[in-house]
């Protein structure tokens, strides 16, 4: 199948500092992809390059196998940027009508209202009178106005209350069921885990993991216990221990991979082996995850 999004070796430098460093991935139709990473990881920069709004220092970005700036692409995408801004001095419904007119086959106002949960009162309000959360909802409606096949949301739920959030993700799932492809960025692990079919984990401008939420979490939880052993022991014996996932030998040290280091350690001590210089290391994803907000604040 032809990829909907294709980026290759995408790199962006700001004054010699790499914000995005050699990122490549493709997205297929119908995927819900979370670009997950702490603040400053390069999520927005990557998205802006995908959209053709920022010129990559190196690498290419294609949407529907075309240049992202082409009009044919613009007719098929919907975008909500990190900072939602609306044209002022217009009523919400006037702004929506304006946007609908940009596209060949727009969604009706009724559909937009139903999908985003805007109220009639909001439709008659001037955009500058809206609260932050209401603005986001209008931004969401603008992204959907053209009935796009591919949607981009950069940190979409920041500033939404929990009801609005719920409604937003419900709609996103519904859109995905209709076969739309969705890319969103977030620094909430929970959100990525709940919604996405795939998580691309960013840290310091690089993709450090890419997989289903289950795979990502398994990787995250995996830790290693390493030690020197002053006696010989069958590797197979260690391998067969409960909770041990893998055993590797490296520079005279034995390394046991596990999701449950406590129980493995207890077992090792019970065996009364002559262990020396024990070290427990967290998974390589841990670093990035420590900076993520695992639980969303309740608002």
């Amino acid at each position: 199948m032809q990829p909907v999004v294709q980026i290759e070796n995408l790199t962006k430098e700001f004054k010699g500092k790499r914000a995005v460093d050699d990122v490549s991935f493709t997205v297929q139709r119908g995927e819900i992809v979370a670009i997950l990473g702490p603040n400053g990881a390069g999520k927005s920069t990557t998205m802006l390059m995908m959209l053709g709004l920022l010129k990559p220092t190196a690498g290419i970005a294609k949407l529907f196998q075309e240049e992202p700036q082409s009009r044919a692409v613009h007719e098929r995408i919907g975008v909500m940027l990190q900072q939602v801004s609306l044209m002022d001095a217009l009523k919400v419904k006037e702004l929506l009508a304006l946007f609908q007119a940009y596209y060949p086959k727009p969604l009706s106002l009724e559909t937009l209202v139903k999908l985003t949960g805007m109220t009639n009162g909001e439709l008659d309000k001037r955009t500058e009178k809206l609260s932050g959360g209401q603005k986001r909802r209008v931004g969401f409606a603008l992204a959907l106005a053209g009935d796009p096949d591919l949607l981009f949301f950069d940190e979409p739920t920041v500033g939404m209350d929990s009801t609005a959030r719920k409604q937003f993700w419900l709609t996103v799932k519904e859109l995905a069921e209709q076969g739309k492809t969705i890319l969103f960025s977030t620094h909430y692990l929970q959100e990525a885990d709940d919604i996405a079919t795939r998580i691309i984990l960013f840290n310091e401008g690089k993709v450090i993991a890419d997989g289903s939420p289950i795979e990502i979490k398994r990787n995250l939880l995996r830790q290693s216990i390493s030690f020197k052993l002053n006696e010989t022991i069958e590797k197979a014996y260690l391998m067969n221990m409960k909770d041990v996932l893998a055993v590797v030998e490296d520079k005279g040290r034995l390394k046991l991979m596990t999701e449950n280091p406590d129980s493995v350690l207890r077992k090792l001590f019970e065996l009364d082996l002559r262990l020396e210089d024990i070290a427990i290391e967290k998974g390589r994803l841990e670093d990035a995850f420590e900076q993520l907000t695992v639980e969303q604040e309740v608002s």
Binding site: K55, R71, M87, Y102
Partner: protein, 245 residues
């Protein structure tokens, strides 16, 4: 075409909903007009002619201001808030955005011109043949092109505060040195000389000529045209440079 028309209509609606526009572009010039034709005795020999000429000056003053400021500052605001960025990922062609802004602004200028001319008729009983009213209106409308281009140039600035400060200063300097506030003849010689090479004098002068039954000088048209081209080239050049990031 339908898209462009809708875009223009929206721009017109937005300008009219802006209270600053009504104040600065209509109320202020009319108050000015009252002061300099009714309150202050300017000692003009031909008061009726002065009333007509000064009406053209303040109509030009009003349209020039809204071309530079309303257009330019709005564009900076929409850019700094990120609205323009969002537009760049919609099917709306980038040119439509600029064209709609300029056409919408001009449509509003038609309205301003009619109101100000009508105010002149009501306040001072300014009359002239219908054809002259029409020609004056057309001159002020079309002659505003270099100021619209100057608005586009202001629109390339990054911050709303800078844009509004800079455009305010240029606007007032142009108006004074162009003789839109007081006749050119009473200004110091040096300022007159400088003013002759700036666009505002030539903008006003065309309309003053029509009021006196003459036609605008070729020089007026040429200088306005030159500034139009200059500002267009500059703003396109700056915009190109800004796009490559």
């Amino acid at each position: 075409m339908g898209m462009l028309l809708r875009e223009c209509k929206i721009e017109v609606i937005r300008i009219f909903r802006n209270p600053y526009f009504i104040f600065w572009s209509l109320l202020m010039p009319i108050i000015f007009y009252v002061i300099f034709t009714k309150v202050v005795n300017t000692g003009m020999e031909n008061q009726a002619l002065w009333n007509a000429i000064f009406l053209m000056s303040i109509a030009a003053f009003s349209v020039m201001g809204s071309a530079i400021m309303t257009l330019g500052i709005r564009m900076v605001q929409e850019k700094s808030e990120g609205w323009t960025t969002l537009l760049r990922v919609t099917p709306l062609p980038a040119s439509s955005y600029f064209i709609a802004k300029m056409i919408g602004q001009s449509a509003v200028h038609v309205f301003s011109i009619i109101i100000i001319f009508f105010a002149g008729f009501l306040i001072n009983g300014v009359t002239m043949p219908f054809g002259e009213w029409l020609l004056c209106g057309l001159w002020i409308l079309l002659g505003s092109a270099p100021f619209l281009a100057m608005g586009l140039l202001v629109g390339t600035m990054k911050k709303v505060d800078t844009a509004s400060g800079v455009s305010n200063i240029f606007y007032l300097l142009l108006a004074i040195t162009g003789g839109l506030w007081m006749p050119m003849e009473i200004l110091p010689k040096l300022i007159q000389t400088i003013g002759m090479w700036l666009p505002a004098f030539h903008y006003g002068n065309g309309a003053w000529a029509i009021v006196q039954g003459e036609s605008p000088e070729l020089k007026n048209v040429l200088i306005l045209g030159m500034y139009l081209i200059l500002f267009m080239i500059l703003s396109i050049y700056i915009r190109r440079k800004q796009e490559v990031v």
